[in-house]
């Protein structure tokens, strides 16, 4: 197996929040609380979980927009915490991001050419003509034409703007793109275009993706491997096919049960979990999922389960196994 592009070990990010009069009480939000995963060249890792479980915080840590409370992130074998100067610049070139909302993620006053050229101007010393050429190339890669370069974002539809964002992410010699819910804000008829385009780009360029989403079917479609996150932890991970064929963690099962049918009459067993996601300010003891878990046992509220191997080169953290 080739060595991973990105390897995350024991990653934690705790935020302190103050409340009460004069903000004297403080509490910790354990947004990311001990996460391990690896992404290989040309591979897509899907990260799925409910709102507030720490997906975006994980991507911010990778993108160096937040500093970890603990743990490490290694890129092509080197810990990124120690990077400086030219090496740091190379890392920022190699790892790019595409956000959910194509309407707010692109600066409205910049032309498409400058939006795409920005990472090249900051992180490379290419001449203007070479940058223009690269902008034209990546516009064609994402299925737009070169002549849109002088236009502004408002002159595009949502799907086209998301293509511009992807073009920008590809402009540098990118090895990994963090895709944080890249199709959630798009029209149904346009989502398939973007998913197909991303899959095509990966096949031709060998770039890796961290694909964050909450729609199981979409994440399963694009990902080679899937990691399921719940309140700051990965509770189960495996090859995409193996996970879909046999979800093991009760939370993963609940996500599958809650997934909408693809045709009428497809029975989805609903109501397997009850209640809402607990506040990250007061995490349940033991297994974080136990208050909502239909299979909870006495031990579940006492001890935190550790990760066990599961089929499909995966791991699952649950006392049932």
């Amino acid at each position: 197996m080739p060595s991973p592009v990105l390897e995350v070990r024991g990653l934690k990010k705790h935020f302190v929040v103050r409340r009460g009069l004069f903000g004297r009480e403080s509490a910790w939000v354990k947004a990311v609380d001990g996460v391990d995963f690896a992404i290989h060249p040309g591979e897509t890792l899907g990260l799925i979980g409910e709102s507030g479980c720490g997906k975006t915080t994980t991507s911010k840590l990778i993108l160096l927009q937040e500093t970890p409370t603990a743990g490490s992130i290694a890129f092509e074998g080197r810990d990124i915490a120690g990077l400086a100067g030219a090496e740091l610049m190379a890392y920022r070139r190699a790892v790019q991001v595409v956000f959910q909302d194509p309407f707010s993620s692109l600066s409205p006053r910049m032309r498409v050419r400058d939006i795409i050229a920005e990472p090249l101007e900051i992180h490379t010393d290419l001449a203007r003509a070479a940058i223009d050429e690269r902008v034209g190339q990546v516009l064609e890669l994402v299925g737009l034409t070169r002549d849109v370069a002088p236009l502004f974002p408002h002159e595009f539809s949502g799907g086209q703007r998301q293509r511009v964002a992807i073009a920008r992410a590809l402009a540098t010699d990118t090895r990994l793109i963090v895709l944080d819910e890249p199709v959630s804000a798009l029209d149904v008829s346009v989502r398939a275009q973007i998913i197909n385009q991303l899959e095509h780009l990966q096949r031709t360029l060998g770039v890796s993706y961290l694909f964050i989403g909450h729609d199981l079917a979409t994440v399963a479609h694009i990902s080679h491997r899937i990691a399921v996150m719940y309140l700051g932890k990965i509770v189960e991970s495996a090859d995409s096919d193996a996970l879909c064929a046999r979800p093991m963690h009760p939370y993963t099962k609940a996500l599958f049960a809650a997934a909408l049918p693809s045709r009428p009459g497809d029975r989805t067993e609903s109501g397997t979990i009850v209640g809402e996601i607990p506040s990250p300010l007061s995490l349940p003891t033991g297994c974080r999922f136990h208050p909502r878990c239909p299979s909870a046992m006495p031990v579940c509220s006492e001890a935190e389960p550790s990760l066990q191997r599961r089929e499909g080169a995966g791991l699952v953290a649950c006392h049932l196994y």
């Binding site: 409910e50 709102s51 539809s157 799907g159 086209q160 029209d187 149904v188 008829s189 346009v190 989502r191 398939a192 275009q193 998913i195 197909n196 899959e199 909450h214 729609d215 199981l216 079917a217 979409t218 399963a220 479609h221 096919d241 879909c244 064929a245 609940a254 996500l255 599958f256 049960a257 809650a258 997934a259 909408l260 049918p261 693809s262 045709r263 009428p264 009459g265 497809d266 989805t268 609903s270 109501g271 979990i273 009850v274 809402e276 996601i277």
Partner: protein
């Protein structure tokens, strides 16, 4: 049996720039809804779903005007009613749930006050009866310890609870028809599943008819009896849910169904070329023809009429011209 709601030939246009720009947001929409039936209204952004709903209940923004068609609800012609009469209809006989629960809840009032309002104004309930009614409604939407939670304010509730409270308010007047405009778009999948199950339970208990606006075909498969697919202000296909999924008649419906990833399948998705239409400048002919893979020469010049098919479905597409026996 007479339908609860019958919309025929509804046309609602937006007049902006002093009438210089006309957007035919809804342009000849017809459907009907029986007791306890659920109709899914699907279509992409801007296809006219919300405008259709707002036209029915008389909540259109100022720039919009109903320029044609009828809305018959339990025998009353709603398009002819005064705002005053419509307000009474909305409080009691028809309930509307909007996409953003915070937009339907007043942050300054307690949950009690907001859930109590319809019963207070329309059913003249007071005191202990009113409190009991509110608790019963909150219990119906599975709010735990309603006697306590009804004193809370909206911001003290989670997104899923707020959505359920909007549901409780909608049910408070004992409506015959609920219009739900994308009520679960902002919810997490597990919370969404709970809410959809709850809506179905309530419908079974009360027999209320439901119009469910969504762009999610999975929700349609789970919730609806019939579906109307909107494109550029028109219903381009209408059928029973089974018929629509098993044998879609319109190329747009086929494309829409093919573009959705199916769990466990890695097959490439069917991608619809081009962009959703701009309702301010629609192409001549069939509005879908620039994106249609099956278009015929006449599609570019003549808009197809409704074709009524043997199985009860209706679709607007020239490909069906031969399939339909001419009278």
């Amino acid at each position: 049996m007479a339908p609860v709601l019958e919309v025929s030939g509804l046309q609602t246009h937006f007049f902006t720039f002093g009438g210089a720009r006309v957007v035919k947001a809804v342009d000849g929409v017809s459907f009907s809804l029986g007791d306890g039936e659920t109709l899914g209204l699907v279509g992409e952004s801007g296809s006219g779903k919300t405008t259709t709903c707002l036209s029915i209940v008389g909540l259109l923004p100022r720039a919009a005007r109903i320029v044609g068609g009828r809305v018959l609800f339990e025998g009353d012609e709603l398009t002819r009613m005064s705002q005053r009469e419509l307000r009474r209809v909305r409080g009691r006989r028809i309930a509307v749930m909007l996409q953003d629960p915070m937009a339907s809840l007043n942050p300054l009032f307690t949950i009690f006050r907001q859930v109590a309002e319809p019963a207070f104004f329309h059913q003249q309930m007071r005191g202990r009866t009113l409190r009991a009614r509110v608790q019963q409604l909150l219990k119906a939407v599975r709010i735990p310890s309603p006697e306590w939670r009804m004193r809370d304010y909206p911001h003290q509730m989670s997104g899923g609870m707020r959505q359920r409270i909007v549901g409780a308010i909608a049910l408070a007047g004992g409506p015959k028809l609920v219009i739900a405009d994308e009520p679960t778009t902002n919810l997490d999948v597990t919370i969404q599943a709970q809410y959809l199950d709850l809506l179905k339970d309530i419908q079974r208990e009360t027999g209320v008819a439901l119009i469910f606006v969504t762009h999610n075909l999975g929700i349609v498969a789970k919730m609806c009896d019939r579906v109307a697919v909107m494109y550029a202000g028109k219903i381009i296909e209408q059928a029973s849910v089974r018929e629509l999924f098993d044998d879609p008649k319109h190329p747009y419906t086929r494309a829409l169904l093919g573009s959705v990833p199916k769990l466990g399948s890695k097959e490439p998705l069917y991608s619809i070329a081009g962009q959703p239409p701009n309702p301010a400048s629609l192409p001549p002919g069939c509005p879908f023809h620039p994106r249609c893979r099956e278009a015929l020469p006449r599609c570019a010049s003549v808009d197809p009429p409704d074709f009524h098919l043997g199985d009860g479905s209706v679709a607007r597409c020239w490909l069906l011209d031969d399939a339909v026996a001419r009278p």
